[in-house]
Amino acid sequence: MAGPVIQTIDLTKVYPMGEYSITALNRVSLTFERGEFAGLVGPSGSGKTTFLNIVGTLDTPTSGQAIIMGTEISALSPLEAAGLRRQHIGFIFQTFNLFPVYTVYENVEFPLLLLGLPPVERRRRVMEALEWVRLADRARSRPTQLSGGQSQRVAIARAIVKKPAIVIADEPTANLDAENSYNILDIMRELNQELSITFLFATHDEKVIRYLRRKITLFDGRVAKDEILETAATPPPVT
C-alpha cells in the first residue's frame, strides 16, 4: 500500500495520578514507512512502551492521532482494532509469551487460525516461518523444552507468520545473552529485508541499537532526536 504504515500526529498520553498526572507521551509526531527498521531509545520512563502500545492498538491516546495502515485507530471498535492487530501487526515481547500448552508448531500456527486460513496453507506458512528462525526441527517441542534464544525465535516466527506490515518488539533482547541477541537480530533484519516488514523496537540494548537504521530518542515523552544510522548494515562482531 502507498503511504506510511504508521503515522502519529501530536500523540499524547496522560496518566492521571490523583492530584497530579504523568505525561507519558507529549505531542509525539512520527512517521514510519514500509520496511523501516527503527527503534525508540531513551531513559526508563521516557514513553517508549507507551508509544508502542498505542501504535499496536493495545492502548488509546489521550489526545492526538495514530494512523495505522491508513486507519485512525481511535475511531475503531474493539472488534475492528482486534482485526487490525490480527491482520497487520505482529508482537514480540521481552518475556517471549509463548503459549505453554502448545507445541512450537501450534504457537506459530495460532495467528493463522485466527485468520481462518485453510489447513494446507497454514502448514506451509508455519513451516516456512520456522525455517526463517531455523527451528523447523523443533516444531513438536513444547516451549518449556526450549532455551531463551529458541523461545524468542519461536515468538518471532509467530509474529511474522502472517506476513504483517508491522512488527512491534519491546525490549526483545532484554532476557537474552549476547549470542542469542545477535542471532535474533540477524533473523529480524533478514525478515525485514526479505519481506519488507516494518520493525519497530523499544530498547536500551546497544546490540539492538547497532542494527537500527533509524534511532528515535525519547526524553520525557518527547522526541528528542530522530536520526538515520548509515552504519547500521555493519554485521555484528560475534564473539
Binding site: 472488534l79 502448545y102 487460525l113
Partner: protein, 424 residues
C-alpha cells in the same frame, strides 16, 4: 467461534490432572443427581400406580358432598348412584363404594374407622373384595346375597335383605397392626345409620391384605357394599363411583356432572402424590446440592487461578488479535467444557451403573414406611429423558455461569497491564 472452542479444549486437556479431578467430581454429581431424581420419580410412579390399582382406578365420580380431607362431610356424602353411571357399573366398567363412619372395639379399646362398602365381585380395584363374597357364601348356612344381580346393578331396584349376624370384613396390614387383629378374629363394630340411630354388630376378619396405599388401609374396614347399604339404611347409595383403570378422561358420553356428582380425573386424584414427590425431591436435594456446590466451587477456583496465572497469556491473546470479549468467551468455554467432559464421563460409567440400578431397584428398609410416602419393598428408579436432559442442562448452565463469573472482569482489563502480568 471454532478457534476459541479448539483453543479451550486444548487448554483444558493441557491442564491435566486438575481438569480431570474437576471432571470426575462433576461427573459424580451428574450421576448422583440423576440417580436421586430417578429414585424419586420411581417412588412417585410406584405410588401413583398403586393408588390407581387400589383406590382411584381410572378416575372417580364423587358425591357432591364428599371431601376426603374433611371427615365431617362423610356423614352427608352419600346418595343414590346417578342413573348415568349404572350402565357402566352393570358392564363392570365402574364400581360404587359407600363410605360411612364407625367405631371398632378391639379388646376394650375403641378405634374410629371409616367403613367402606365394596362390591365383592368388583374387578376394578386390587382390593381383594372376593374374600367378602366367598366368606358370605359359607357363613353359618345362612344364605344372603352379598353380590348384586346384574339387573339390580342396572336398575338400582334392590331387594332388601337382613343384616348378617356376623359381618365379613377385610382390612389392610396397617389396620390389622393398629387394632391387633388377625384373620378369623371377630370384633365389635358400631355405626350410625342414616336416621342417626346407633347399632353394633360383630365383624369377622376374613382376610388381611398388604398394600403400599395407606389411604385404603389405615383406619379402614372393608365390608360388602350391599351389607353396608343395609346397615346404614342407604339402599342403592354410594359415596364414590370408581371407573375402571384406563377409562377415557373425561369418560365418553357421561356428563362430567352426572346426577350432580363430580367427576375427578386422575390428575386431580394423584396431585397429592405429585406434591409429595416434589416435596421429597426438594427435601433430599441437600445431599446433591452440596456435591454440586463443591464441584462448582472447584471449577470456580480453577477459573480464578487460571485467570490469575495466565494473565500474560491473556494479554498476548489480545495482542494477537482477540477482543477482550472473546477472551471472556474463551475462559467461559474452558470452564463450561468441564461440564461437557463430565457429562461424557458420567455417561460412560453412569449408564451401566444406572441401568443396573433401574433393573434391580433398591430394596427398601422396613422403616421406610414412615417416610410419608407409600413405598413398595423394592423401589424401581425411573430415568426419563426429561430427568437426564434436565440435569445436563442444569449442570451445564450452572457451570457456564460459574465459569463466566470470574472471567467477566477480563472484559474490563487493560491489555497493556495484562502483558506486564498485572491484573488491576
Amino acid at each position: 467461534m471454532k478457534v476459541l472452542l479448539k483453543l479451550a479444549i486444548r487448554n483444558l486437556i493441557a491442564a491435566g490432572l486438575r481438569t480431570w479431578l474437576n471432571v470426575i467430581v462433576l461427573s459424580l454429581t451428574f450421576v448422583v443427581i440423576i440417580a436421586a431424581q430417578g429414585l424419586f420419580r420411581g417412588m412417585g410412579d410406584q405410588a401413583a400406580r398403586a393408588s390407581i390399582d387400589y383406590e382411584f382406578g381410572g378416575g372417580q365420580f364423587w358425591h357432591p358432598a364428599y371431601d376426603p380431607y374433611d371427615p365431617l362431610t362423610i356423614q352427608d356424602a352419600h346418595g343414590l348412584i346417578p342413573a348415568e353411571l349404572k350402565p357402566l357399573i352393570a358392564a363392570g366398567q365402574a364400581t360404587p363404594i359407600l363410605v360411612i363412619q364407625g367405631t371398632l372395639y378391639p379388646q376394650g379399646r375403641f378405634l374410629p374407622v371409616l367403613i367402606k362398602g365394596i362390591d365383592p365381585s368388583q374387578k376394578i380395584l386390587s382390593i381383594p373384595s372376593e374374600f367378602l363374597a366367598a366368606s358370605a357364601a359359607e357363613s353359618e348356612g345362612e344364605s344372603w346375597p352379598a353380590e348384586f344381580t346384574t339387573s339390580e346393578k342396572a336398575t338400582g331396584a334392590y331387594e332388601r335383605m337382613r343384616i348378617p349376624d356376623e359381618i365379613p370384613a377385610i382390612i389392610g396390614t396397617r389396620m390389622a397392626a393398629t387394632a391387633r387383629l388377625s384373620v378369623g378374629d371377630t370384633v365389635i363394630l358400631r355405626w350410625r345409620d342414616s336416621r342417626g340411630a346407633f347399632d353394633a354388630r360383630p365383624v369377622r376378619i376374613v382376610h388381611i391384605f398388604r398394600t403400599i396405599v395407606q389411604s385404603v388401609d389405615a383406619g379402614q374396614v372393608w365390608i360388602p357394599l350391599r351389607v353396608l347399604q343395609e346397615m346404614a339404611g342407604m339402599p342403592g347409595e354410594a359415596t364414590v363411583v370408581t371407573l375402571a383403570p384406563g377409562a377415557a378422561s373425561p369418560p365418553g358420553n357421561i356428563p362430567a356432572a352426572a346426577g350432580g356428582w363430580v367427576y375427578r380425573d386422575l390428575r386431580y386424584l394423584l396431585r397429592d402424590i405429585d406434591q409429595l414427590v416434589a416435596a421429597k425431591t426438594a427435601g433430599s436435594a441437600t445431599v446433591y446440592v452440596i456435591l454440586l456446590f463443591m464441584s462448582l466451587l472447584a471449577i470456580f477456583d480453577t477459573q480464578v487461578l487460571n485467570i490469575f496465572h495466565r494473565i500474560r497469556e491473556i494479554g498476548t491473546l489480545v495482542a494477537l488479535g482477540l477482543t477482550r470479549r472473546q477472551v471472556v468467551l474463551l475462559f467461559t468455554l474452558e470452564g463450561t467444557l468441564h461440564a461437557v467432559l463430565a457429562a461424557v464421563l458420567a455417561a460412560i460409567y453412569g449408564y451401566p451403573l444406572l441401568s443396573a440400578f433401574a433393573s434391580h431397584g433398591w430394596k427398601m428398609p422396613e422403616a421406610f414406611d414412615s417416610f410419608g410416602i407409600a413405598l413398595g419393598e423394592r423401589l424401581m428408579p425411573v430415568f426419563t429423558g426429561g430427568i437426564i436432559i434436565g440435569t445436563v442442562i442444569l449442570i451445564l448452565s450452572l457451570t457456564a455461569i460459574i465459569s463466566f463469573w470470574p472471567a467477566r472482569r477480563l472484559s474490563r482489563m487493560r491489555p497493556t497491564d495484562a502483558l506486564r502480568g498485572k491484573l488491576q
